[in-house]
Structures are given as C-alpha cells and as structure tokens.
Symmetry: C2
Subunit: 308 residues, 2 copies
C-alpha cells in the first residue's frame, strides 16, 4: 500500500491500516514520518493506562479483565503489549501473541511489540504506536510492559495512570525495588491475593507509602486475584478515581511534560544519527581503537569528532 492510501484508510479508522502502521513503526520504516505527520492532528484522544511489574505477576490476565470491564462500560479499548525481547535477537515473544486470540475476537485491538534498545527510542516508539491505535477511535489504550527495571520507569512517561503490580513471595531484596516502584505507581496492586504473604505485602507497601514523600494523590493499594476475577471492580473504580483527579487538576501539564521528554529524546537521536552519517563508521572505529590503546582519552576523542 502507498503511504497516501494508507493515510486515507487510517483516517477512516481501518483496522488493517492501523495494524500496517504499527508494523511500519516497529520496523522503523522510512514512510512512518510522513504518515504520522498527516494523522497527528487526529491523535492524542485516548486515556492511557500503563501496567507494569515483575515477570510472573499476572499482568496479562489483569489486562484481559480490564479490557472486559471497559467493554461492559461501553468503552472502546486498544491494547499494546511491550515485550521483554532479547536485545540481541529482536524477536517478539510468541506466547504473548497467542494469548491475545480470545480477546481479539471481542473487537479489542491488541498488538504485541518488541522493545528494542535504541537510544531514547522505546518511549517515543511506544507513544507513536499508541497514536496509531488511536486512529481506531478507542477511548482507552492499555499499555502492558512485560519485564522489570528500566522499562517500568519508561512507562510513566507514556501513561496517564500507571498501575504497578506486585506479588507476594519474591524475597527480601525486592524491598529495594519497591522503593523505586512506589514512586511511579498511581495505583499499587497486590496480585495473587490468595497466596500466602499477600496481606503482609499490602501492609508493607502501605507502610512504605506512609514513609515516603507526601503527595497530593495517595496511591491506593488494591489486592486482586486475577485468575479468580477478584478485585477487578475495585481496580476499575480506582482507575476512574485517578482519572477524575487528573482531570480536575493537572492532566494537561503532565501530558505536556511527557511530550517534552519525548521531544528531547527524538532530538537527541536525530542529532546523533546526523553526526554519525557525517563522521562515518571508519572514524568512530579509528577513535575507539585509539582510546583502547590509551593513545587518546574519550573526552579528547569526542572534541576531535565534533570539530570534523
């Protein structure tokens, strides 16, 4: 399909066209820029919910249940699952794509994408994919990041409401991680609530919250057992509470600061790519060899490359 035709179909809300655009974004196709330029004024209209947490926390089941609840409330939903892909092979995790089948039949648009490790790329790519999904007119976009660490933090830059999922039984050192995670969660969720230690975990989270910096919005701590569909209504209510809070307060400011963050990342990537083309692969290799042999230090090397 020509970009012109794709843009036309996107503006009609065509599902196949959206799927095609997401593939183009994933593959960093050259056509993406002109397509996104064209549809830009029509994007930005969905409420974005991020779900993050360690592997095995049951995020996928939670996403399925949230999607179901959204439909029961007559809301259109799009789902983006960011995969914990090997940084080297670049392949997506097949299991996740398969899991999505049943949901897809109910008219929800679901897409699994690989999380590549490009410089400042993941957040921007995710946001463009959300913009692509929005051409379907969805009210809510659910973004699930499978995996822990850096990706967890990145999702805050994209989501309006961030749900952090924890599960009992991951050991003491998890405390350290929780400290960071508490700060990114608008809603803290203890899943697998039927397991031993769930109550204690919820209490620990509550205590840590009380020790932390006082904020205007206090993240609620919810216990769910997704496999038995327990606690989902409470989760849904709390998402709506947070949405109302944002709408009364500062949602525009927060969204603006996220756009600024993306813009800076994209600018950084643009400048680097342009300079690399200018300097050439050989010169970078040459400088790296000099640094390795201790003939030059990295700072002087950069100064020399900038001058060129």
């Amino acid at each position: 399909m020509k970009p012109k035709d794709l843009i036309r179909k996107l503006k009609q809300g065509d599902v196949r066209a959206v799927a095609r655009l997401l593939t183009l974004i994933e593959n960093e196709d050259k056509a993406v820029e002109s397509i996104l330029k064209n549809i830009w004024p029509l994007t930005g209209n969905s409420y974005i919910i991020g779900i993050t947490g360690p592997p095995g926390a049951g995020k996928s089941t939670l996403v399925d249940l949230l999607a179901k609840t959204a439909i029961e409330n007559n809301l259109k939903i799009g789902i983006l699952a960011v995969d914990p892909t090997s940084p080297f092979s670049g392949g997506a995790v097949l299991g996740d794509r398969l899991r999505m089948n049943s949901a897809q039949k109910s008219g929800i648009f679901i897409r699994s994408v690989a999380s590549r490790g490009h410089l400042g790329g993941l957040t921007a790519t995710t946001r463009f994919m959300i913009n692509g999904l929005e051409m379907l007119g969805n009210d809510i976009t659910l973004v699930e990041t499978v995996g822990a660490g850096q990706g967890d933090v990145e999702i805050v830059k994209v989501a309006d409401t961030t749900i952090v999922v924890e599960v009992p039984g991951l050991g003491d050192e998890v405390q350290a991680q929780k400290a960071g995670i508490l700060e990114i969660g608008d809603i803290l969720l203890v899943n697998k609530g039927d397991r031993p230690g769930a109550d204690r975990l919820a209490k620990e989270l509550k205590m840590m919250l009380s020790l932390g910096e006082h904020k205007e919005w206090t993240p609620p701590i919810i216990t769910t057992t997704a496999t038995k569909e327990l606690g989902i209504e409470e989760l849904w209510n709390q998402i709506n509470n947070h949405k109302k809070y944002l709408e009364n307060k500062e949602i525009d400011e927060i969204r603006l600061s996220k756009i600024k963050y993306d813009l800076e990342n994209q600018l950084s990537q643009y400048l680097f790519t342009r300079k690399m083309i200018q300097i050439g692969e050989n010169e970078i290799q040459n400088m790296a060899e000099k640094i390795f042999n201790r003939e030059i230090d990295p700072f002087t090397a950069i100064e020399e490359m900038i001058k060129q």
Copy 2:
C-alpha cells in the same frame, strides 16, 4: 582538594582520592573530565566481572564470596555495586552500603553507586568508575547490578565475564526473561541450590541453551548455595576458564567494541547537551506546547529546532 592534587594522589593509588573521584563522577562534577583525561593512560588494566540477576537472587552474598576467593588467590579486588535507585529521588539504597562494612575491613575497595537514568549515561558512568577503581591497582573489578531488565543488558557492555544469577521459584513467565538473559550470560548460575526446583531450573536452562544459537563459548551452568558457601570454587574455576578463553581468542576485539559503544553514547549526549544550550529551555517548552495542541507534529518540530 584541587583537581591537580587529586590527580597526583590518584597516581599514587591513594584510596581516599579514588573515593573522592567516584563521588565526583556520581555527581557529574565538572572536574571529572580533566581528571579522567590525566589518568586515562593508567586505566584499563583490571579484569571486569559483572554479576546480574533478579532482586532476591543472592547476588550480594555471591560477590562477597568471590571477593574472598580472589584474596585467597592473592588478587587485588575492587567492587562496584550499581543500585536500583529510584529514578526520581536519586538517593542510593542505604542497606547495600551498610552490608559492605565487613568486606571493607579486609582491604577490598567497595563502592555503591546510584544508577541514574541519564541519556546513554549509565554504562559510561559505570566504566569511568571502574577506571577510577583501577587506580588502586586492582586485578579484578566486580560489578554488581542490583535489579533486572535494561540494567542487566547494559552490564554486558562493561564486563569481560558476565554471570547471570537465577533462582528457583519465580514462576512461569520468567521463561520469557530467561530467553534474553541466556544470551548475555557467559556463566549461568542457579543460586539457592538447596531450594526446591533448583535442579529443574538448571535442567531448563540447559535445555534452553541447547535450543539457542550455537556459539563458540558454551556458558556453563553452575549451581551454588551462597549462604552455605557451596559451589563457589566451581564458579571461580569457570570464571578463569572464560578468562582464558577470551585471552586466547578475542578479548581485544570485544573490549574494543565496548569502547566504541560507550564512545557513541557519549557523543550522543554531548551533541544533545550542546544543542539544548543553543536552543534554550523556552523554545523546547514552546515546541512541546505546539505538539500537545496538535498545531505541529513532532517531526516538523525537530526540523525547525535543527534549523535554529
């Protein structure tokens, strides 16, 4: 202390001077560049071992035991613990610093550092800190990354030998993570070997390895119980095997490619910082607002900023 005095003391291998330099690097002090320029020819002489894995896997205990073994083998050792710090508060995790006390008494230099989220910064910062530690004349630098995800992958860019620690009982979805982790590990380690499921985990890892791409170096799978000091000798032997393998083969090439990666990241950061100073904070804010209001798309915004 003036940079000139600090450089002189660093060249004498003064411990306090090294501690001071590491603090300056952590704080991104302006003096860092000139200091590192001066000591650069004297750095790069330690063998770097990275230890990574999920929270609660017992990495800290393993690091302590490896340090003990190194000393028994008359090797000088430096340890750098990269903390899973909150990206927002920037504070280091206190527990880890406290834990280090006993080891510090035995003459090992240990430093916990915060892992800030700067653009392309973590790897470069870690490497500069390793270079700082090397002024003490250590034979081995152990780098422990606490936390999982992106950081795990980054450590490969720094370490000569990467040890990936797994523990039994983290659920099925961990499979997805393991797939990526297998590719970064030179040694795969199943810790908490006295727990149920340890044998099965080791077998699973072996099976996954056999399914993966065939490589010249096949990562050995070791089972340890760090709390009982079991399996540490085997781990030490395998580290030495991998070191010999690299020395016979390609260690220079691999180290060179890592330096190149760092150089590209630093160049990227330099270009971005310079452009930001040139454009000014107001203009970035202004553009972000226009994008938010859908008056301009991000690509056209970047084109306009580049022109300025």
